[in-house]
């Protein structure tokens, strides 16, 4: 991890020094354990603050939308796919971005770690040799890294950047994972059961929109929740309105979500919103064999068609 941090600092400094980019977006160490702050360096001096560890969960492409000028960004596998989508959707151009690719072994889930530590406050987290070491007052706990990963990372099939100008660490072995068996389990329930299931998991939603704001691909100048004529979704805590917000947001992610997990990481209530976005990922994969953000030539599936698309559901 420290080696990657050094590489990021080195490359960022070089790019800023030479004037090749005006800004480098990466992470700076957080003021509390288990979270890091997105950091915007504009000088080689500022680039010294870049940091890398298992808590660099958020998708930094979120900060690139409609940005002007040349910028470098630190990108994991999922982030690089988001960048590809951003290029396809013309949110930023390819020649504006220098991609500092970082092959990723998975990011850690602070909630899983806190659950393991129980009621004790975690004051320090160290990562060493495939283990995560938690330290605090009367707390010393070692966990295997695989048990502490954020869920999206446990089923990730693109841990290496799919597009990068430079790769700052050794490649990670890609593997096929079981991405959809939990979705299939929900699909197998009865309609009423599914309704109740989603109402329950959405019951703690406080409509903070952290999920939406953390997502690079939610960039509408006016979000549908703010539309008042007509008002598609009410602003109150009426459970039907909360449900509708998540329903629409998930649909907007169809064929666009790279499963970076930023939405779940940002959510203060720990709502598993990816159960919705991954259902759509499954549909898109099964029907049209498409995966988001793998190549610049791809076209998001809802923005295109084939005359012979399946239509078994149409009367």
């Amino acid at each position: 991890m420290e080696r990657i941090a050094e590489q990021i600092r080195k490359e960022a400094s070089r790019l800023l020094d030479s004037g090749e980019v005006e800004l480098v977006v990466g992470f700076k160490k957080g003021t509390i354990p288990m979270v890091n702050r997105p950091w915007f360096a504009r000088t080689p001096e500022e680039a010294k603050e870049f940091h890398w560890d298992g808590f660099c969960n958020l998708n930094l492409v979120n900060y690139l939308t409609k940005r002007k000028g040349k910028v470098a960004v630190v990108a994991k596998g999922c982030d690089s796919r988001s960048l590809v989508l951003h290029f396809q959707e013309h949110q930023i151009t390819r020649d504006q971005v220098v991609i500092l690719g970082v092959p990723c072994h998975g990011m850690l889930d602070r909630r899983k770690l806190q659950r393991a530590a129980g009621k004790k406050e975690i004051l320090d987290v160290a990562e060493k040799n495939g283990s995560v070491i938690l330290r605090g007052k009367e707390l010393e706990l070692v966990l295997p890294r695989e048990e502490a990963l954020q869920h999206c990372c446990t089923i990730c099939e693109h841990r290496n950047p799919v597009l990068a100008d430079m790769v700052l660490a050794p490649e990670v072995e890609e593997r096929k994972t079981d991405r959809f068996s939990d979705i299939a389990q929900i699909e197998a329930k009865e309609a009423r059961e599914r309704w109740n299931f989603f109402r329950k998991i959405l019951s703690t939603c406080i409509r903070c929109y952290a999920c939406r704001n953390a997502c690079p691909h939610c960039y509408c100048p006016e979000c549908f929740v703010d539309c008042s004529r007509p008002q598609w979704v009410g602003k109150s805590q009426d459970p039907d309105d909360v449900f509708t917000f998540h329903l629409f947001r998930a649909f907007h992610m169809a064929g666009r979500c790279t499963d970076c997990g930023s939405c779940e990481r940002a959510c203060p209530m720990g709502i598993p919103v990816r159960l919705l976005t991954r259902k759509l990922e499954k549909e898109i994969k099964e029907r049209w064999g498409y995966e988001v953000g793998l190549s610049l030539e791809g076209i998001p599936p809802l923005a295109t068609y084939r005359p012979d698309d399946p239509q078994d559901f149409i009367m």
Binding site: T31, K137, N213, S236, A266
Partner: protein
């Protein structure tokens, strides 16, 4: 001595007795590993070993959504065009085992909603009026707690009617106000012994000492206002912020709201919902102009309001140092850093 001891095994009995007297009790409840402040109707037991709830107890007096009144324009109805209130009157809400920072926060909300000699928010007032606060002091404050910067502390008695201290086997209940004293006198519990009181004092002093030196945020007042407002610091400070509502919604003192009518056919309801300065819609004018057009202005607004405007108006910053925003911000915006920066 009017302090009493509440054995932990007797907590449900105690709450049941209070419920019998007509109190509507709210307290911290653990669901799926997370703690939130919720009504305690007897089905769920409160948790008393916890750091703090996610959503603060401000929902007791200022719920996220509330219906102000309903109306119908259907002329065939006898109540057409009459605004009808739908809320039930609140008898006596009792906050059980909330933290002293959250207890202080009610005092700050009072400054906004109950303006002395002027306007009193009726929806807030009717819930707040007969409220009793039993605050559970913090034996081991978290590192993200900074209540002592804001004039509070792990056992601060401001806004508290009965102070609870966890002594292991039970809670020491010390009345702070007459309201608290009266409540305790009406409940049959063993009196606290001198050694209970001594033990509690030891824990309280230790907790306060463990928090370290406070920083005095009132120095923020010293800089000229417009200079602080125009400082280029805000250009960089806001960059990482994703302008969601996490900090404002979890904050025990944030009080912005939006009033909106929702109608269908001839019927409608006027509701009040939490709003946040972080959303662009909050300040969007009907003309389309937005005086806080970008995230920078909104970010600046949040901290200027909390740390300067409120301080100028009311002599205290609009923050009780609970640390929720620090713990839950997805991008690690840390208000403590901003306080240090604004102090100079």
């Amino acid at each position: 001595m009017d302090a009493k001891m509440l054995p932990k095994a007797d907590v449900s009995g105690f709450l049941g007795e209070l419920r019998g007297k007509g109190y509507e009790i709210w307290g911290p409840v653990e669901v799926d590993g997370a703690v939130d402040t919720m009504p305690l109707d007897g089905t769920a037991s409160p948790v008393t070993e916890y750091w703090n709830s996610r959503v603060s107890p401000k929902a007791m007096v200022f719920p996220q959504s509330e219906r102000m009144f309903v109306f119908s324009v259907d002329r065939s109805r006898p109540d057409a065009f009459i605004l009808k209130e739908v809320e039930e009157p609140c008898i006596g809400r009792l906050a059980f085992a909330i933290r002293p920072c959250d207890a202080r926060a009610f005092g700050i909300l009072d400054k906004v909603f109950l303006v002395q000699g002027a306007w009193q928010d009726p929806y807030y007032a009717r819930k707040r009026e007969s409220m009793v606060v039993m605050a559970l002091g913090c034996n081991s404050p978290c590192t993200t707690c900074f209540c002592h910067w804001t004039g509070g502390g792990p056992f601060s008695r401001e806004g508290v009617d009965i102070m609870m201290t966890d002594l292991g086997e039970g809670f020491l209940l010390e009345p702070v106000t007459d309201k608290g004293r009266e409540l305790l006198q009406g409940i049959d519990l063993p009196g606290a012994s001198p050694s209970n009181l001594e033990e509690a004092k030891g824990l309280q002093d230790a907790a306060t000492a463990a928090m370290g030196e406070p920083l005095d945020p009132s120095h923020i007042r010293k800089r000229p206002l417009l200079e602080m407002f125009g400082d280029s610091y805000w250009e960089r400070a806001h960059e990482a912020c994703i302008k969601c509502g996490t900090c404002t919604y979890l904050c025990p003192t944030c009080s912005c709201f939006d009033i909106q009518d929702e109608v269908r056919g001839p019927c409608g309801v006027r509701g009040r919902n939490w709003d946040t300065c972080m959303f662009p819609l909050t300040t969007l004018h009907a003309s389309g102009h937005n005086p806080r057009p970008t995230g920078k202005e909104r970010f600046r607004q949040r901290f200027m309001h909390k740390l300067r405007y409120f301080l100028d108006d009311f002599g205290t910053i609009m923050c009780v140092g609970c640390g929720r925003c620090v713990q839950f911000c997805p991008v690690n915006i840390d208000i403590r850093e901003i306080i240090r920066e604004l102090r100079g």
